[in-house]
Symmetry: C2
Subunit: 307 residues, 2 copies
Amino acid sequence: MSGTLENTRAADATADAVQVVVGRNGRPKIAVFDSGFGGLTVLRSIVALVPNASYLYFGDSARLPYGNKSRETVARYTVEAAQFLEKCGAEILVIGCNTASSLALYDVKSAVEIPVVGVIEPGADHAAELSRHREAIVIATENTVASHAYQRALARRGFATYEKACPLLVPLVEEGWTDHPVTEQIARIYVIEALRSAPPNTDVMVLGCTHYPLLRGLLRRVVPQRIEFVDPADSTAQVVASMVSGSTPQQTQGRRLSGTPEQGCPDGEPAFRFFTTDSVEKFMRMVPIFLGRAVERVERVELEGKA
Amino acid sequence: MSGTLENTRAADATADAVQVVVGRNGRPKIAVFDSGFGGLTVLRSIVALVPNASYLYFGDSARLPYGNKSRETVARYTVEAAQFLEKCGAEILVIGCNTASSLALYDVKSAVEIPVVGVIEPGADHAAELSRHREAIVIATENTVASHAYQRALARRGFATYEKACPLLVPLVEEGWTDHPVTEQIARIYVIEALRSAPPNTDVMVLGCTHYPLLRGLLRRVVPQRIEFVDPADSTAQVVASMVSGSTPQQTQGRRLSGTPEQGCPDGEPAFRFFTTDSVEKFMRMVPIFLGRAVERVERVELEGKA
């Protein structure tokens, strides 16, 4: 199925994905790619639904941010990482990065043999399921807002969308201040500004940055109750779960990740390998913030086109 | 003088620099390089001391941040920009970027014919002038702290130094919240943490990130009065002024920058050209935050080794 390049960019990753079932012959091997740490929230959401799997996570931190790079550069970087993950035995590849999902999805589909799922189309599908009024706010980084990736995906589903850049939220999450009063004040300022410019009947808010699910509790306190959240990480996890044979949703929070592949991993438990192109130390410091648990081992990888 | 590679990295950019006098035959042409916008505070400090000059500013925003890249990559990027500025007629080059000053100063000196001044050594010299106890705090970005560039420069002057990473301050400045109550709360948290770990007789705080001079007023409210600030942008400006024939300190705030070179620029007024490798719009939005005045024109440049 992959290798088939869709005719239009409006083509839907989800439609592609659900026809594929992996893991029939044992534990599926699921890879998540991101330019940095944010994709770890996507990994977390998938693990919650598909615990009995082997996971590969690739954070291309040495070359982040992708958001200020050209389409060609983002595609080249993402394809390199995708091919690396395919060589590591990945059976499904999730592009857990908004910029790469928006700019590189079709290049990656052409470059690898395994199914590829981005985060934007599942998020937009979920928004369309939840919304009665087809009016939405998207909160995201400055670069994701400038790309208008969610706005376009939602427009194809009949939405009027207001996009609000919230540049302070990523560094606040990476500082670990996910439930800090300062973060709540800043989120409140952003939300008030967004509501002032948003369509009047807005009833969904898309968390258009992979860091934001960690602020969901805090955001619930500052966003009016009439507005439901769409977390594309969760939406993407649903798509992946539908592709995996015999998966049953269940919680796997609070356990310590092994950080090494299958060896000795009990059935029903996830196994993990983490790769980064940058500092292993920073990665190990970030993982607990994003996954809610520590990791024992992170492998450093050098890719060709070093930034 | 440039082209002479010093024997040790401890060699002092300042000692080099003061032997050179430019601008004897008219307005000097002074270039400031940075990986992004922060170097604009260095430009501002130099303009305040040397108003009767032509300025070139180069912000390599498409390839920032430099802080997570290898020494070789940072040197290659900085040399490219330095050679570009030399071709534009620069007579002095200021590396207004902590990472590039730390990693690329000697490569740049070998690669261009004009004198080159970094920000770290002038900042450390200034700290040594101010401090009685030779105990310092450096506040900086995570990457500058990890490089220990200021710690090493200060150690050569007999200092015990505590370095505190303050990752939220750059995005707060770029959001324009330079005098916002939220920024003050965050700065207070960082300062309290730093004071807890700093040497007991600390009497100087180095503003080790080019964004921080914009928070100087706010920081003065949260840092104990016994601690004096060292702003390497100001220290570097003093070094540049000493290299320029007939310069007299004077304020030039509040005027509108021409954004075009000499043509029609009255004597005694600075003229400017701004170059960026990334979005011209973002650059034009950032300039007023950093320089305190608007700019009419920013030129986009493509360099070879695109990130």
